[in-house]
């Protein structure tokens, strides 16, 4: 994986590494200057080993998530790369004829005379970027192993040109020996290991190839070779080129040219762009180039191109200038051909002609550009390598987005841990301050300790993250194996050093930043109350405005002061002192930006706390979010910030009115909590009616989670006494449970910060879990009924294009399949065509050309039917049968609305949208590359999206016959079985009956179930990944409980003295953690379901998906809930047990 979020991973690593080293340098420098604080900070680590372990676990979670996400991306990317390299071997590019000629047929690549290859070979002979080029023939046929009677419907037959194999790896037998194609006799062939597996074949076996009609050919297997490069990835049989030409009756013809670039199998791909350009130039039709040159040499065109040139940038600008120069040359130059072959140049020229109104020239140029290159040059290896990188980056992005909440929760835990550590050491910190330690020293003490934790836990986190990644890769392999029985593609855990560095640095920096913020907060203690162990006074800020504002000026003066002292010392010849002052001056310069930023942060923080700045910033954010950015996340975050700002202003007003601090906090934060929650619970349509439609995404999920959970936690925490009263009332009849419940609720409610943070952690994780679970389960309901999805078909049989069935119904009778077992039989063929609305851009689209049997029996529901074409499926299908110029569109070929953000759907259709109430017949133009024929068709309906192949067009097969230069055979047959007939048995019988046609059958319901199960498994993997965050919540409860036992030791002694049994102490602590975890789960779960429902309604309306049902996966969520709760109880059970075992007298003695 080379890029993440569009940024080079190398750059990300360099920046993070630099930041990491800078941070370590600063901390190291501070440590050297203040060793006492280093000792004070570090000595705490070994004092409580259990607590240290819990802290390391808690602190490492962010790193685990980051490393797991990056590691999974690495694995996917590298595995695809490795598979590409293994499959392609030395092949970097392939060249295919783009136009069909006489004798070409559907399902096979068009042929050219081998002389074209020789010409190409001569033209590129001087190029040192190419070290091999070989022509071949590739066809696909059904085959049977005569010995084992095992058949394979798709056996690739490749004719290899032995004399031109230089530059390509040779063939290696399964036993490791080099074997040569030259040594094969006429009746011999090699097969690759996949073909050997598929046909259960071994050297010496005789294979029969079915070549269509009654034609067959037999080959004896001379050797089994490793699949690689020319030996293919899929089941392949290899013979000499000349033998293949005779076999397929293609004398002196080839249909594939493989090219190997200079260099190894990996680095050869780096030359691919350059080689492809040269190949295109060499393969170009010089006559078309000359005609194009004449067209573009016209003065009007030259003037238009010159006028457009200043607006261009980069390479295109240079190319445009070069093009004009080359057009002035007397003849067609190689350079001109190269330029005309560049896609960017072609697009530019056509754009200029169109924008200048040169319609005729535009039309002519379009045709000539299309004629310029009668071949397709495919950079096959580079494309796959780029796909590998994109796949890795995509997967990493998904997992990082999913893990954002866990990282956030991890940050909260780090903050909580350091707040609690500070609480435990408050007295000694007060003493340190009393004897002269500055506040900054306390900050440093915690930073030193935090750095030690961060360094260790980030290292552990990377290792565990990679282990988690390996686990996820294992699960993915299991999912993939359902589709790939031969285990051809397997993900192998691969972790780049760069990933480890990035994960480590990022995890460590997140931890260090959080520790620094926490340390700053906890350093603000009142010395007297800290020493005496009394609560902190409510107002802690003793830094006046003056001190805050003067701080940067003082920092600015500091280098001069030390510099002056250095000079003075030097003047007195005290050189060591001068050097020391110089070092301090340099340090002061380094710290100057820090001082400025701290001041800015302090000023902003103070204004934010006053409320008005929060209102102002929130309003700005909401305004920009709604207008300029059109992002829902920004708008909703802005509105939430405005509400919070208003609440803070309300608190100030109440303070001036003399209200008690607890009461004014309660009023202000309850107001903020309730209003923010109410805002977020508004239906999206209500907000859209005010600000219009805004874009959503993971950012919105993240903001919604933070805002809703914070609001709910505030509301609960500031009104907990009501909860307490309710609980007390409810439990009053339950004898001794009541005192236990009283303390179990009272303690967490008295420590609002730590309880609120722990509550927020649980709530955030459960919020995400619930949201993702609800949405994935809801979407999986859309495609559950195979009858609906397939339009009533049960079995699919795919056959090779070269071995068509002349008449399926007759053949079924011939093969003895009882006619009563099949309710319907139909067939179709899928092919790619170019489509557009007249005057717009061409777009590639798949088309199903179906026979009458398929059109008659397919029970697809139509979402829209054009006026004049009836109102039922039968009427539309009849129209398709009767008129080959009519087509219907799959539901996903049209966008939902003109303004809908469904980027995955093609955009070339503007005349009809899925959410339309009705439609008019729509005209489309279709173009087929092989024949270069264009035809006009009419769209008369849109199939409902819940049906299969929703990204394809459906028409009569006669339309495909007209579009292609040759007859189109039916390659996919569908069978609807009669009631009570076993589809699996029919599928089995069909395969046997049509063995010579290479029929491979699928029971559609099984296939759908497999796809559905795999999708569910992937979703569960996501849910499991998000559930990792629960570890943070559980670790937090463990830390809180451990601290509670230490802090309350005396109180536990008192409780025991006045009659609490051991079990009651234990129960009280367990109930306490239950109270937090259950409340957190309830808050997060409820909010997740509500947001999930809102998203469901939004998507249902947006997608016009009326069949979508809202589903909550209670079993899955329930299992996670039980696990999380049990583990949270376990995390508390140990400290609770320890507390209960202590003798009352011993506990009372504790100070």
């Amino acid at each position: 994986m080379d890029n993440l979020f569009g940024v080079s991973m190398d750059l990300i690593m360099a920046v993070l590494l630099a930041a990491f080293l800078a941070a370590i340098a600063v901390v190291g420098w501070l440590a050297l200057r203040n060793r006492v604080m280093v000792r004070l900070g570090l000595r705490n680590i070994p004092r409580r080993r259990g607590q240290t372990i819990l802290i390391v676990i808690g602190v490492m979670l962010s790193t685990v998530i980051i490393a797991a996400a990056l590691g999974t991306g690495d694995t996917l990317g590298v595995s695809i790369r490795n598979e590409a390299i293994r499959s392609l071997g030395a092949i970097d590019e392939i060249v295919l004829p783009a136009r069909a000629g006489a004798g070409d047929s559907f399902g096979s690549v068009p042929y050219v005379h081998v002389g074209r290859f020789r010409e190409l070979q001569e033209r590129v002979a001087d190029l040192d970027t190419i070290d091999g080029m070989t022509p071949s023939i590739a066809e696909t046929v059904p085959a049977l192993n005569n010995r084992s009677s095992v058949s394979e419907g798709r056996l690739n037959v490749v004719g290899v040109d032995a004399p031109t194999l230089d530059g390509f790896a040779g063939f290696t037998s399964a036993t490791g020996e080099a074997v040569s194609i030259r040594n094969l006799s006429d009746g011999e062939a090699f097969i690759n290991d996949r073909a050997a597996d598929a046909l259960d074949a071994a050297p010496g076996d005789e294979l029969t190839l079915f070549l269509g009609g009654d034609a067959t050919a037999s080959f004896r297997v001379a050797a089994v070779v490793e699949r690689n490069g020319l030996a293919g990835r899929d089941p392949t049989l290899l013979v000499a080129l000349e033998r293949a030409q005779r076999l397929f009756d293609r004398p002196e013809q080839v249909n594939l040219i493989s090219v190997s670039n200079r260099g190894g199998v990996m680095d050869g791909a780096e030359l691919s762009g350059e080689v492809a350009r040269e190949l295109r130039a060499a393969l170009s039709d010089r006559e078309a180039a000359a005609a194009l040159r004449e067209l573009l040499r016209q003065q009007a065109v030259i003037d238009a191109l010159a006028a457009a040139e200043p607006d261009l940038t980069g390479d295109l600008r240079d190319n445009a200038a070069e093009l004009r120069e080359e057009l002035q040359e007397a003849d067609v130059t190689d350079m001109l051909v190269r330029l005309l072959n560049r896609q960017s140049v072609e697009d530019h020229v056509l754009d200029v002609l169109e924008s200048e109104g040169l319609a005729e020239e535009h039309e002519a140029a379009s045709a000539l550009f299309s004629d310029l290159l009668p071949y397709r040059v495919i950079q096959i290896k580079r494309n796959i390598l780029e796909t590998a990188d994109e796949a890795g980056s995509f997967v990493t992005t998904i997992f990082l987005n999913m893990g954002l909440f866990t990282v956030m929760v991890g940050v909260l835990l780090i903050f909580l841990i350091f707040v609690m550590l500070a609480a435990a050491r408050r007295s000694e910190m007060g003493m340190a301050r009393a004897v002269g330690a500055r506040r900054v020293h306390l900050v440093q003490m915690f930073v030193f300790e935090g750095t030690a934790y961060a360094l260790a836990s980030a290292a552990v986190g990377v290792l565990i993250g990679l282990a988690v990644s390996a686990l996820m890769v294992g699960i993915m392999n299991r999912i993939f194996s359902a589709f790939d029985e031969d285990a051809l593609f397997r993900l192998t855990p691969q972790f780049a050093l760069r990933t480890m560095v990035v994960s480590y640095c990022l995890g460590m920096l997140i931890t260090l930043a959080t520790v620094a913020v926490s340390a700053y907060r906890v350093s603000r203690l009142n010395i007297v109350t800290a020493v005496r162990g009394l609560p902190n006074p409510p107002v802690l800020s003793d830094t006046g405005w003056r001190a805050v504002l003067l701080a940067p000026w003082r920092a600015l003066l500091r280098p001069f002061r030390y510099g002056w002292r250095a000079l003075a010392s030097a003047a007195r010849l005290r050189l060591l002192a001068a050097l020391a002052y110089l070092a301090r001056a340099a340090w002061a310069v380094v710290m100057l930006p820090v001082a400025v930023w701290v001041t800015i942060a302090q000023v902003i923080w103070r204004f934010l706390m006053q409320g008005w700045l929060a209102v102002l910033l929130g309003a700005l954010l909401a305004w920009y979010g709604a207008t300029a950015w059109e992002r829902a996340a920004a708008f909703t975050a802005g509105v939430s910030l405005v509400v919070i700002g208003l609440a803070l202003m309300l608190r100030s007003v109440l303070a001036r009115a003399g209200l008690r601090p607890d009461l004014r906090d309660r009023i202000a934060f309850t107001f903020a909590g309730v209003v923010v929650l109410a805002f977020w619970l508004l239906p999206p349509s209500t907000i859209e009616s005010v600000v219009g439609e805004l874009a959503g995404g993971f950012d919105l999920l993240f903001v919604s989670g933070i805002c809703m959970v914070t609001a709910a936690v505030w509301t609960v925490m500031y009104n907990a006494d009501l909860l307490l009263r309710a609980l007390t009332w409810l439990t009053s009849p339950i004898g001794k449970l009541r005192p236990v419940l009283v303390t179990a609720v009272a303690y967490p409610m008295s420590a609002k910060l730590r309880t609120g943070l722990t509550l927020a952690m649980f709530a955030l994780v459960f919020f995400t879990l619930m949201f993702i679970s609800v949405l994935t389960e809801t979407f999986s309901t859309q495609f559950t009924d195979p009858e609906v999805v397939t339009g009533g078909w049960h079995v699919e049989g795919i056959i090779g294009a070269s071995t068509p069935v002349a008449n399926m119904r007759d053949s079924l009778v011939y093969h003895g399949l009882p006619p009563d077992d099949l309710r319907a039989v139909g067939g179709y063929t899928v092919s790619s065509v170019q489509a557009r609305e007249p005057g717009s851009e061409w777009d590639s689209v798949r088309m199903r050309g179906a026979d009458d049997g398929f059109l008659d029996a397919s029970a697809y529901e139509f979402h829209l039917i054009a006026e004049g074409y009836g109102s039922t499926t039968a009427e539309v299908m009849q129209a398709l049968r009767d008129d080959p110029s009519l087509v219907v569109l799959g539901g996903n070929l049209v966008r939902t609305r003109p303004d809908a953000q469904d980027g995955f759907r093609p955009e070339f259709i503007e005349g009809v949208f899925y959410a339309d109430e009705s439609m008019q017949p729509l005209t489309l133009e279709l173009w087929q590359r092989l024949s270069e024929r264009t035809t006009t068709v009419t769209v008369i309906g849109v199939v409902a999206r819940e049906h299969e192949d929703s990204f394809t067009m459906l028409a009569s097969k006669k339309l495909l016959d007209d579009l292609f230069p040759f007859a189109i055979p039916v390659t996919r047959y569908r069978f609807a079985v009669a009631d009570g007939v076993d589809a699996e048995r029919i599928a089995y019988r069909l395969e046997g009956a049509f063995l010579e046609h290479g029929m491979e059958t699928t029971v559609l319901a099984d296939e759908l179930e497999l796809e559905s199960a795999s999708a569910r498994a992937i979703f569960r993997l996501f849910v499991g990944f998000v559930a990792l965050g629960l570890v943070v919540g559980i670790a937090a409860l463990g830390v809180v409980s451990t601290r509670a036992v230490v802090e309350r030791r005396q109180q536990i002694g008192v409780l025991r003295a006045i009659g609490y049994r051991r079990g009651m102490i234990q129960l009280s602590l367990l109930l306490e953690s239950s109270f937090i975890s259950l409340l957190g789960i309830a808050i997060g779960g409820t909010l997740g379901v509500i947001l999930g429902y809102q998203a469901f309604v939004e998507i249902r309306d947006e997608e016009a998906a009326g069949n979508l049902r809202f589903v909550v996966p209670w079993l899955q969520i329930g299992s996670i809930f039980v696990l999380a709760y049990v583990f949270s109880l376990l995390a508390t059970w140990l400290p609770a047990r320890q507390a209960a075992r202590t003798y009352p007298a011993e506990a009372l003695r504790y100070e």
Binding site: S750, V1054, I1058
Partner: protein, 242 residues
């Protein structure tokens, strides 16, 4: 026969802290009559608090025998001992040791709830008890919002609310100024006199000891002087001398 509520015979207790072994109690005999207020005095480290903890069942003994109202406390399982404390004993500590997260009335009603008294009755009795110690208006305050004397009054109210047979007090005035200390000891003596409950008070303060019926003096883990019984503490007679 005397009506003894506490009978301790030959009790020993040893603490081990690493390599250091401390013989905190070395064969202590002590009897306390029902309704008697006994002050245990002596220098720091002589074993006063240990004796109180051992007598009240807060700590285990190594040897000897303790009978509280005829019940051999140390032979009871831990849960039954806890229940016994909840029903029959009250505790007052030097540092008040109130639960900081509960209000005054909630602290006071806690022993009642533990004894199985219904919540309504528990709240009424707790308020009544707070009233009797002069804190009815502070019932909803958290301990952190009360002065030291007020906190100790709450502690006393908590100790007496379930009308225990014995009240154990460990340095009840140790953290208070003299005026407040006098108020507290007046309160304890008054309650002792009015309710006839037995009080065992560990104290350093001679004026507190002098208000008791008897002063037991300890030295090096032994009773140095068991003191002589006098009239009830509430009578103001001080017969036991040191």
């Amino acid at each position: 026969m005397e009506d003894l509520i506490i009978q301790a015979r030959d009790i020993s207790k040893t603490y081990s802290t690493g390599s250091l072994t401390v013989n905190a109690l070395r064969g202590v005999d002590l009897s306390v009559r029902r309704g008697e207020m006994v002050a245990i005095m002596g220098p720091s480290g002589c074993g006063k608090t240990t004796l109180l903890n051992c007598l009240s069942g807060l700590d285990e003994i190594d040897s000897g025998r303790v009978l509280i109202d005829g019940v051999e406390l140390h032979n009871l399982p831990d849960d039954e001992r806890s229940d016994y404390r909840a029903r029959r004993m009250g505790f007052v500590f030097q540092l008040y040791n109130l639960l900081p997260v509960l209000s005054a009335v909630e602290n006071v009603e806690m022993p009642l709830l533990l004894s199985g008294v219904g919540s309504g009755e528990a709240r009424a009795r707790a308020l009544e008890m707070l009233d009797s110690v002069g804190l009815s208006e502070r019932s909803s305050h958290l301990p952190g919002e009360l002065s030291g004397g007020q906190r100790q009054r709450v502690t006393i109210a908590r100790a007496l609310v379930n009308r225990p047979a014995i009240v154990w007090a460990d340095e009840p005035t140790g953290d208070l100024d003299s005026e407040t200390a006098n108020e507290i000891i007046d309160l304890m003596c008054g309650l002792n006199r009015d309710n006839g409950q037995s009080f065992v008070v560990v104290t350093h303060a001679l004026d507190v000891g002098q208000r008791a019926n008897r002063i037991v003096t300890m030295r090096d883990g032994l009773i140095a002087d068991a003191g002589a019984a006098s009239g009830l503490a509430g009578s103001g007679e001080q017969t036991a001398g040191v």
